[in-house]
Symmetry: C2
Subunit: 480 residues, 2 copies
């Protein structure tokens, strides 16, 4: 990690200074120009710098065409107005992967599949060296949308198409990565495969992950079944990258509320996932007075409500997305309840405090002092700890410069912190990384109605491509 970051820092001292000079020295000129660009943006046309802009129609056609694999719930009358349900390593995920491999190979890439099914499509450069990559994921939530993850990969494919059309030779290789099971929706560790690549999740743990909600298959068995269990180790040493840029929908309401087009993502908030298990006693709902109950369901409800209140107190977030109970009969008080708890905050310290308070409070809520009946036992299992991440200052500046050149208007972009985890969290541990956000309607994501305007997707893809090209150029300057 250290050598990689050191080299990148050297490469970016110069452009950082340039960007600062530009902002200070030519304010009036930029302001005038930006108005024109802003007008063009509104009409769906984007600023081309160096003659490289993506083909919006082709990008969106590719995106929607690949969404025929794993189409989800319909919410509108147009062909494209459905959600997605493309769980990782499912049959539909295999089809999307096959398309990705075939398409990038046809575009002249060499494709490497590692032991986690991560797919690296690399387009050679003039010089040999680790690729400057864009990456995201093709898997979705069970009731997800068409943009989360998918846009990031498809924008990478569009970048490859443009480079080929222009017959462009980059100084170094550039690549597009599809990371496996980013969502953690089917196999319950999110970003698990970039986590293995980063050396943060043991490959055995990842391979052994069982499908959520009672399935018996594992990640390894499913990788094998669909033909994506590669032989290359999933590792930043086997597959090093010079940088990782990720384009993503914001999944929140901030850009839309500010009528902005690009989020320059400076980092990712910390989050932790737990499974909380409660054990009370099955009993008849009609014959068991409150004072003779160990009602695991009631205790769980009090805990979930409490997690919300404590999180709010700390300006953090808390959510429960899964809850199962047994035995599951109208007139039997559940003796067993298990629920997921997802907490998030901008700083690790806040999350630490919140966790401690939740543990103390849940114990109190499970005790007979509160139940006024019998004790309920409570156990915690920590499933994921994702510390707060600061992205690489050089990458952030590269994205900022690209956002400025594409939108031409500083009021159309802003710095922000990602609320969600992304594969960029793990790549940032071993190579300079940052992300680019585009607005999505009402900030809705993980929902079939997730939607981003075609022109916003294309603007984001332009900023992504520009960032890669700028980074590549700066690497060449460093080499010289």
């Amino acid at each position: 990690m250290a050598p990689c970051r050191a080299r990148a820092l050297l490469a970016y001292q110069l452009p950082l200074l340039r960007a600062a000079a530009l902002k200070k020295g030519s304010r009036g000129q930029w302001a005038a120009k930006s108005f024109a660009h802003s007008a063009r943006l509104a009409s769906g046309r984007r600023q081309s710098v160096g003659g490289f802009t993506v083909n919006q129609d082709r990008l969106m056609n590719d995106l929607h065409r690949t969404c025929k694999w794993g189409t989800g719930k319909r919410w509108g009358s147009l062909d494209t107005e459905t959600g997605m349900s493309r769980l990782s390593l499912s049959d539909s995920d295999k089809k999307a992967r096959d398309w990705f491999v075939e398409t990038t190979m046809a575009l002249g890439c060499s494709v490497t599949i590692d032991e986690m099914g991560n797919v690296f499509a690399i387009r050679p450069g003039r010089n040999v060296g680790p690729p400057t990559c864009v990456g995201s994921h093709l898997d979705t939530q069970p009731s997800g949308g068409r943009y989360d993850g998918i846009l990031g990969v498809l924008a990478g494919v569009e970048m490859l198409r443009i480079l080929n059309e222009r017959d462009a030779r980059t100084h170094f290789p550039v690549g597009v990565v599809n990371w496996t099971n980013e969502e953690g929706a089917r196999f319950p560790i999110s970003m698990v495969s970039s986590g293995v690549w980063a050396g943060e999740v043991p490959v055995e743990t990842a391979h052994g992950l069982r499908e959520v909600r009672g399935g018996t298959v594992t990640m390894r068995s499913e990788l094998e079944r669909i033909g994506y269990l590669g032989s290359v180790p999933a590792s930043h040493t086997s597959m090093p990258m010079a940088a990782h840029f990720e384009l993503h929908i914001e999944q929140g309401p901030i850009l839309e509320n500010h009528k902005q087009k690009i989020g320059i993502v400076t980092g990712v908030q910390a989050y932790r996932w737990y499974t909380v298990q409660l054990t009370g006693r099955d009993a008849h709902t009609g014959t068991t007075p409150f004072d003779a109950r160990a009602d695991a369901m009631l205790a769980a409800c009090r805990m979930i409500a409490c997690s919300h209140d404590l999180a709010a107190k700390h300006s953090a977030l808390a959510s429960t997305g899964i809850l199962t109970l047994t035995p599951g009969s109208v007139n039997t008080i559940p003796g067993q309840v298990k629920f997921s708890l997802d907490i998030r905050a901008t700083s690790d310290a806040t999350l630490e405090t919140l966790e401690a308070e939740l543990k103390a409070e849940f114990s109190r809520l499970a005790s007979k002092d509160v139940t006024k009946g019998l004790d309920v036992s409570v156990t915690w299992q920590t499933d994921t700890i994702s510390p707060a991440v600061d992205f690489h200052p050089s990458c952030i500046e590269t994205v900022r410069a690209s956002a400025l050149s594409v939108t031409g208007d500083t009021s159309l972009f802003r710095e922000m912190v990602s609320g969600a985890g992304h594969d960029s969290v793990y790549t940032s541990r071993h190579c300079p990384t940052s992300m680019i956000f585009v607005p999505c309607r009402n900030g809705v994501s993980h929902n079939p109605e997730e939607f981003a305007k075609a022109e916003d997707c294309a603007t984001g893809a332009d900023v992504l491509m520009q960032s890669v090209l700028r980074f590549d150029h700066l690497r060449s300057e460093e080499e010289v």
Copy 2:
């Protein structure tokens, strides 16, 4: 209903007066006698009146033998220390039913199976007329025990064995009934088949009930599959009964806490079952601030906690035994939550008030005033309304007289109201009915560890048999 009850009242005016006289006139004598009986009870021996007592070992052997069909979770090391999981109309329920039919036919009964799969085993009497019946059910909760329902049917079979051994001719027919799907655990209306018999549930509704938790089979398709879709209408006119007595474990802690052996059940508390459905919006847990959420799970938790608090305020009960959510992913806020709500109180008026308060309060909890985000929509579906029931005074007195003759000690029994619904609720609408409770350990029921002592089961079976014989005798007096 009117003629039936009128006739029964006539029949019982005499014994009611007799019982009162006994209690008043021979108090000292009974008190002395009861001490001796109490000592016998403690040593496992029971008082025989008229030479008719059940065979405790045979009763318990039958009970445990039939529990090999649908054996549930193990909780102890003995063969009999498991729970039961015999869902209605399952393969194991079919086996238990087959045993019941074969055994009662071998004991000389005629067996009738109606269109709800209710099985009536009738032993002829000296005279023709509707049978005096004992009834309960052979189905169990998914994680239930060996006594709930099963004891009531098996005590009926033991009664038939004793009558045969003694070559006893009752004045009128006596019968044993196995009611279908009493638990409502597989098909979500409890006591549905006695409900059809009583004309309170349309047979089409009952036949069309779908298996809970996503199954596709219906009651009718399962009745057909296991060969218990009879051709006789399920109706109190097709299969009238002179009376219905039901022996059952208490399923609560009262008898045990008072060291008593028999509960004379004078009625059943009112209860209502609802399905509450919440619709919010699926959204990403990390990127959706609290003020942009419509979190159906959080709203459900607040409602369930609130239902407990409001019920406690009214000395009523509230419980949630089923909760399902979608989409069900750690990092997606659930947009849909559905949960069952079971409320109970001794009076219909209390339940009426509680329901109104719950509806008002749930609406408030779903509104953005409380969510501090978006509105969550809430809909109520009423699945069952079971009004408070008063059992028939003559049957209650018959049970009281039998309890006194069997235990010989007024301190060993008490009047009580059933907290749970039973098939006797519906039979009471069309024939004199009451119930007999025996203690169960820690009041635990709907739980694999549900347990009743063999001697307590036999004491209850004795009171049941005595009640039937007394009732039969009084019918003959009425006829004369």
